[in-house]
Amino acid sequence: MANQHKEAILYLVNNHHKNIIKTAYYFVSNMQDAEDLSQDVLLEILRSIGHYKKDSSLNTWIYRITVNKSLDHLRKQKRRNIFQTLGSFFIDDTKGKIKSNNEPSMTDSTNDDREKRKILDAAVNSLPQNQRIAFILSKYDDLAYKEISEIMNLSIPSVESLIHRAKMNLQKKLANYFSEYAKDIK
């Protein structure tokens, strides 16, 4: 293998790999899947580096590929998505206790933690796609609106509006979920 390739691989892995995994993880909610996805992302970057245009930073380009690969992955596994049941709760406003998929060996506090994550993941996953992307890049990746606007190819006000709407939707979904009397509010 040419040395340039090895150097490019080392450079990408040392400088960008962890961020790629973490971003993918925020979208797919599973570390193993995120790690597998990160390898696809790196290969895609190495294969298409010739198409990369300097009008966006390498970082922006990498985020864009990572988000796209993660969304592809989610689409592919949608049917066997463990959050599907929960997701339909938020979409259909169907009420009911959340079934826990936890292993029996888990402690109560871990169960509680997993439960909270599931509730939040399901609510975030039920957001319209652009709201979800903007929200995750902002709240999980902690990126500035400007960076998000470059990654998503949108204006900064559009990104602000997406994040605002995402928050409005999320608090409504969560409030409905937590309200014992969700039926009465509808």
Binding site: A8, I9, L10, N15, G50, L174, A175
Partner: protein, 156 residues
């Protein structure tokens, strides 16, 4: 029940869960929010539940990948690329232009030699036929990194 939940105070709390948590409410609105919490048990529970669930954002952010993943990934990518999936560096303008230039120079040198002329022009003194081939070879490996990324390669 409906009456309670449609109470303007309850609606205000429900509409401002994020703003309250992110401390983005104005002083007056923050006061209104907390005044309502003092009088409404259900909203107090809602706020606690909301904060508890949204704190799992921080929990997720704290999760770290497998520490050995980098080594495994480098191995996997190298083997993937060696199995014939080499990245093809596309012949973009930025690669084609220097490549064509080297070809033209090389051709000029070859023609010059073939005509039996003395090789003493500025061009050919710098660029022997071998050099021309070297230029072509290195041009094939031009990659499109940003300046910051190029700085990395320059140091190696």
């Amino acid at each position: 029940m409906q009456k309670t939940l449609n109470n303007p105070g309850c609606v205000f709390v429900r509409d401002n869960l994020f703003s309250y948590q992110e401390k983005k409410l104005s002083g007056e609105k923050n006061q209104k929010f907390e005044d309502h919490l003092n009088t409404c048990k259900r909203c107090r529970e809602l706020v606690l539940n909301f904060q508890s669930v949204s704190s799992s954002i921080d929990a997720r952010r704290a999760d770290e990948p497998n520490p050995f993943i980098q080594t495994r990934t480098i191995q996997k990518i190298e083997s993937e690329l060696e199995r014939g999936n080499m990245p093809h560096f596309t012949f973009s303008k930025r690669i084609l232009q220097p490549l064509m230039l080297s070809t033209i120079i090389l051709t000029a040198v070859v023609i010059g030699l073939a005509l039996g002329k003395q090789v003493d022009s500025e061009f050919s003194s710098n660029l022997s036929r071998q050099n021309g081939i070297q230029v072509m070879k290195s041009d094939l490996y031009i990659t499109d990194f940003t300046d910051e990324d190029n700085a990395f390669f320059d140091n190696h």
